[in-house]
Symmetry: C2
Amino acid sequence: MRTYKLTVAYDGTGYQGWQRQANTDRTIQGILEHAVSEEMGFSVEVNGSGRTDAGVHASGQTASIVLPGMVDAESFVRRINGRIPADIRILGAELVRNGFHARKSAVGKVYEYRIDTGERPDVFERRYCYHFPEKLDLEAMREAACLLKGTHEFAGYTDKKDEKSTKRTIYDIMISGQGSRVNIKYEGTGFLYHMVRILTGTLLETGTHQRTPGSAGKALESKDRAAAGFLAPACGLFLREVRYD
Amino acid sequence: MRTYKLTVAYDGTGYQGWQRQANTDRTIQGILEHAVSEEMGFSVEVNGSGRTDAGVHASGQTASIVLPGMVDAESFVRRINGRIPADIRILGAELVRNGFHARKSAVGKVYEYRIDTGERPDVFERRYCYHFPEKLDLEAMREAACLLKGTHEFAGYTDKKDEKSTKRTIYDIMISGQGSRVNIKYEGTGFLYHMVRILTGTLLETGTHQRTPGSAGKALESKDRAAAGFLAPACGLFLREVRYD
């Protein structure tokens, strides 16, 4: 038995998200499992570091697979890439210790949310940015971000009611602006369902002065979803990196 | 009568090129003429600075239209953009002197050709780059580019036999590389049918040592299409700018 860690990039535009579903074959996990299983001649499970929602992109998603023996990683990657659509690419396969699991072994994640504030949406970035044609007060957004960093119960910042624990640590939220583009980078231990998109919606409401920076912290304390901001659309979100020890 | 210059960006991926065609409505000119005519309530011709081939992109195509009177440019642009698909955007409309014609008045054009030399194609750039996974000798390419610059008969570098004149001036060819990305920027008075893509194919063959830099100059002198390089695919090509006095 050998365990491999796969690094995967995908343009999420045409997909129903990472997780395999019985009623559609437009999921990343479903497509990868089909391709790996066909290639190997037996059924192989592809375990991702976590689900990404419909329309969310990844440049550094990870997944683990267990195979009965060694494979040549380079040629394995090439063969699998030959079996999948061009908007999904395996970037690498790495032999890891047995027991490694892409989700359970992960210690951190990096997401980036990309915003196009230009008056007219950039035609070449329209699939990879949220078009939000507003002037953003980045300093107010950074002030709100400061209140969101750290270890907190993020119950107000998720759309899922039944999480075992809503405690997470955000190491950093970096907001950068250049021209009409604003990027928000999130680094943390892990993120709840919709959490990065709700954090982004809250920061955008702060940036347009629809709310105060302090209200972002209040939404945290109240644990009330209604006190946090809108759900920013999937198309601006990228899973950049999954970290392991 | 008022003449307006439009600046237009489009993702050419799904289109049959700029020029209107009787047998398809998937052309940029056709879509713009339809939208402007519907908006104005009478038939309006949209004259581009030149045709772009099927699949070629533009971030700064220009076109001229003649209207019976003044319009508010800002609101005109907004209304036309509301009538066309998201992968075509009018970036601006500017009142210009009567007699101005986007093609006839143009004095220069800037094209850029984008190449992804990475082993695996970048999933987010796959529509906007030619994936050519080879190590490129940029110095050899620059040497060939030097021989192509200047005023020449470019009969060897076009796929159209019946051009009135094949004399053009290339002011500059700038080749830059960063990581796995190589960009080639062409500035000139104008370019013949397929010329930028054949120049690019020739430079790529030079960069992989399939031909010498000198052979690029020889193809110019011989005026023989067969002596020049392959036709690089449309997806990597962008019309960046059209210049006027």
